[in-house]
Structures are given as C-alpha cells and as structure tokens.
Symmetry: C2
C-alpha cells in the first residue's frame, strides 16, 4: 500500500506523505497555458484535459498523491443550477425559497458528471500515486447556492438559516443525497480516497454546526464506508468546531495553519492529521520554507500525519518553492523521533 494510503488509514509512517491543496492550478505555467485556450468549465468537463491537469503536479514534483482537477460546483448544474466563473462562482438564480429548493432535482449517480468518471479512469491509467476524489460538504454548497456566489460575510445565507431552517434542511437533504451519489461514483470509477471540503463551516458556531452540518457530513461518510477508502474532511477556521468534527466517521482531518498540529492532535483522537503549513510560507525565502516545514513536521509527530498546506496554495507561488518544500518533507525521517 502506498505511503499516502497507509498514513490516511492511520499508520504512523516513517516519513510524512505530502500533497498540496490546489496543487493543480494557476501557479503552474503548464496549467495557465491550458487556461488560455479553454474556459474553466471546458477544463473540468473534458476528461483528457481534467486528467492532464490533475497529473501536471504529479509529474513536475513527485507529490505522494494526486487530487482530481474539478471544482466543488461540478455536480450542481445537473440539479438545475446555472453557474459561471468570474473567476469565482456566480449563480444565475440564487436559491432562497421552499419552491426553489423543491425545483432542484437530484440526478442519478451516472448522470451527475460522467466526464469525471472518465477523467478518473484516465488518471488511474497513468498515475504512479493514489488519486484523491473530492466534493463540497452540503453546508458549504448550500452557502454558495443561497448566497449566489462568493461573499465577504455570507449574510444572505446566514439570514436564510435563521429565517427558513426547514427550507435549509430540505436543501441540505438534497445536497447530501447528491454528494453521496457523486462521491460513490468517484470511488466506483477508481478514486482511492475522497476529501469533503467544508470551506465555510467555520463561519458558524458549534450549535449551528451540530444542526446544519454534522448530521449531513456523517451520512455522507457512513454511505462511503463500504468502499474502504480513506475519507478526509476539511473545515477552515474551525478550532471551535473540533469538539464536533472529532465525531465524524472519517479517517483524516485537514487542519488550517492557525493552531499547531500538536495542539490539535488531542482534540481529534484517532484521526490522521493533514496539514498545516501556512500557504504564505511558500511566498517566503527558502530558509523560512525549510524552518517552517520542519516545525510543522515536528509538531506532526506523535500520530499519523499527511503533510499539506493549511489552505489552498496561493496563485503567485513560485513552483520552485513547492519543489523545495517537497524535498524537505520527503527527507524528514519520522522514525527516530516519533
């Protein structure tokens, strides 16, 4: 079994595997060359292009896992939602009424995104490392669907949760069923792990998380158990939520850069921790990259650790720093000190 999958399954591996959130993307010239020729949706929906982009960082850096190139919005258009990227997602018609929620359909597993299944098969045929599939968590998808796009404070969505909790639950039900089908499809097509991105969960207090996030995330992870593939979860700015997140039936929790892994470890017993270098460190001089990466590696001792950033890589990152980071992580021996 690969180093990544062993660590994801809870083994204290002799070195930490490493991959990088948004490792396939705008900081790479080979990605930008494709982005000049195609729209974002074309890149997502053309299996050969999505596979090529997924594999770019694997070839360039020798990361220990590939992550599917897609967007968390990928499964939403077949529900009846029209979305553009400008560059963030913009919904033609935000969903804010019971009627609008009732109108959303939950497509069958094979209808959602056949191009993703095909991309996964192409990637698996070529990739020397495990492939991670992913999707958005229901609460985070609902955040965008109700707000209508990105926002500074997601005021419309936060108001919606308080004015129309019943409608919110109806929407979350549909998104949960969609997510289960979408992620099952990915695992069925060959993804060897899945990560659920709950990017906006940290906006809410633990009580709202218990009501609007935890039960749905739990159902998704339970539905995926049969595949035996590691289930991974990320929420950012979530230190106040770890008392709930610890109960999710998943093997791996991604941690943002704000708190050291050694402080988070006891809050998430039994989980493999993933993270948590500040993405801004990759904008720093080489000596800082090394020192900070080694600090994170030391803080990650004492339990299974998959090295990653605490959030997506920044687009102005020099790929040379990424190569340096990977060599530092891959040279760090955890056996003498663990």
């Amino acid at each position: 079994m690969s180093l990544f999958l062993r660590a994801a399954h809870g083994h204290n591996t002799p070195r930490a595997p490493i991959w990088i959130m948004r490792q396939a993307g705008r900081y790479l010239s080979e990605y930008r060359a494709l982005k000049e020729k195609y729209t974002f949706w074309e890149l997502c929906r053309t299996p050969e292009l999505a596979a090529e982009i997924t594999l770019q960082p694997v070839r360039r850096f020798g990361v220990d896992a590939a992550i599917l190139f897609q967007d968390i919005m990928t499964p939403l258009p077949p529900m009846g939602l029209e979305i553009d990227f400008a560059p963030g997602p913009v919904f033609k018609a935000p969903v804010r009424s019971a009627e609008a929620v009732a109108d959303l359909r939950v497509p069958e597993q094979d209808e959602i995104a056949p191009f993703v299944a095909e991309a996964i098969r192409l990637i698996r045929a070529e990739s020397p490392v495990p492939l991670i599939g992913f999707g958005g968590a229901p609460l985070t998808l609902a955040t965008y669907i109700v707000q209508g796009g990105g926002s500074k404070d997601y005021d419309e969505f936060r108001q919606f949760l308080r004015y129309a909790p019943g409608t919110a639950h109806a929407l979350l039900e549909k998104l949960t069923e969609l997510s289960i089908r979408y992620l099952k499809m990915q695992l069925g097509a060959g993804a060897q792990a899945v990560q659920v991105f709950d990017s906006w969960a940290g906006l809410h207090d633990a009580r709202l998380y218990r009501e609007f996030a935890k039960p749905y995330n739990t159902r998704i992870f339970e539905a995926l158990a049969e595949f035996g593939a590691p289930r991974m979860y990320i929420a950012v700015e979530a230190l106040h939520l770890y008392g709930e997140i610890k109960d999710l039936p998943c093997e791996v929790v991604s941690v943002d850069w704000r708190a050291p892994l050694s402080q988070v470890r006891p809050l998430l017993p039994g989980k493999t921790l993933q993270g948590n270098l500040d993405p801004a460190v990759l904008l720093a001089p080489e000596a800082v990259v090394r020192a900070e990466a080694e600090r994170v590696l030391r803080e990650g001792l004492g339990g299974p650790h998959i090295f990653n950033l605490g959030h997506g890589i920044m687009r102005q990152t020099d790929p040379g720093r990424v190569a340096q980071l990977i060599s530092v992580v891959q040279a760090f021996d955890r056996t003498g000190v663990a």
Copy 2:
C-alpha cells in the same frame, strides 16, 4: 460610576451593559441621510458631524456606551499616507520597502487628528453614557498599509512579514508610537475607555502573533495605564490566540461569535468578556433574536460581561431588531443566576 464602566473595570454587574460594534453607521437612516451629503472623510473630520453620528444610536436606542465615530485609518494620513474609501480603504502607495517605512513620519500628539479631540469634547457635553475611543492595533494597521487596502487573504502582507521582518518591525514601531499618541489624545480629550481593534490578528498563528503583535499591543496598553480608563481589545477568529491575548495588560477582551463565552472565560482569566452575539442573528425573526441573546447572556454569567455583537453590525440590519435586542439585554437580571 456607570454600568458600562463598572463592568469594564471587572465588576459582575446586576445586568450586562450593552453597546454594539459599528452602532453608528449605515444601517441607520439618520446616518445614511448625512452620508448622502458628505464624503466619509468629511464625516470623520468635521467635529460636529462626527459627534452627531456618534450620538445617533445613543439617542435612538439608549445603549449603555457611545463609541466615537471614526475609522481606524483616521490617524494615518498625517504619517504621509494617502487613503481613499471606495468604500473600503485604498492606499495610493502601499508601503513595502525599508525606504518607504523610513519616510513615514510619526506626528506629534496634537497634530494627529485635532478634529477627533474636538468631536470628543462635543460628545462628552451631550452624551448621557460613557464614550469609548478607539484605534487600530499596529499589526492590523500594517496589514492595510502594506497590502494597500482590503484583500481576501492579505497575501502581500503575509509575504512581507516573512521577507522583511526587520522592515515590518520598523513599521510596527512607528505605528505603536502613533497609536500611543493618538489614544492618549483621545483619553486626554475625554474618552472614558478605549478599544484597540486588531481585526486581522487572527490570520496568523500564535508564533507570528508573539513576534509581530503582542509586544506592540502590550506597549500601547501599558502607556495608557496612567489614565485609569478601561482598555479593551478585539481580535476576530482568535480562539487560537487567546493563550497570548490573556497576557495583554487590558481589562476587556471582545470575543467573536464562534465560541461560547463560557468556553472562552477560563482562557482569559481576570478579563471582562465583551460579546458575542452573531451579527447574523439580527437578521433573524424576533423570536430567534430573543432566544439567542438570552443564550449569550446565560453563557456570560460567571464573570463580568459587556453585551455586544461578535463583530460589526451588518448594514442591512433592521434597527427595530437592535431596539428589541437592547430591551432583552437590559431586562435580563444577572443577580439571581450569577
């Protein structure tokens, strides 16, 4: 002594005093009426207008404290920085080099913002409740000065801290001296408490906070001790920083809405806690406002508590909800349950 000042000085008052962050502002029609006639800088720099705006929520709602109407950018132009509002702050020339930092001057106390001193005198002559002055924390001011304005991830500033820590410290030194002079001026003119806003401290881990924030915040608070006025501090998304914030020589810490006051209280021993209703609750139905406010009031028992939101009020808030909130808080008796 007023209820607000007693609570701020650490007394477990029979009811919680209440004021609201950004209580003077865009959600009030009487503010918008002035904003149509004057630019934002004109409102700040005309003592009669700044005083009038400060007093608007005091008259309308009977809050237990007034907070000066200004912006954290107010003291920066005399340093040589040109700033517009569009509507967020935009710096004509971001400061990113040692030379640019060296060029910044630290104006004398009386030069910084004489219009603020005059506004304070006007407010004190009319206000039935104590007046809170305020300023930005050095790290947060530096965030804007280096980035050049608001940003999604403040990448330029976070890179700057790593590439040029010496220059960052030189900038923070100047901002600390400026802040001390500016806040001393406010207290000298009649402000009865001061709040230091460290809006972006939560972006950083505790190690960066210890290096770039804590020593400067400490110096400011120490320099203000002689006035005997309560010193208040706010950082948002800062649960991971309370282990450092607890050491600041201030009487009051504002807490955002993410974690309950009862959970934060033991992390900040000896401090009066201020907060922490989610501002989105004021966009909810009346029954939700009451239930959530009473929950926060109960969680605030067990120590001194000043009721507030966990962050600034949202501009689309119905002032009727604010009036309701204030009546709920002012009716809540802490003596039977504390």
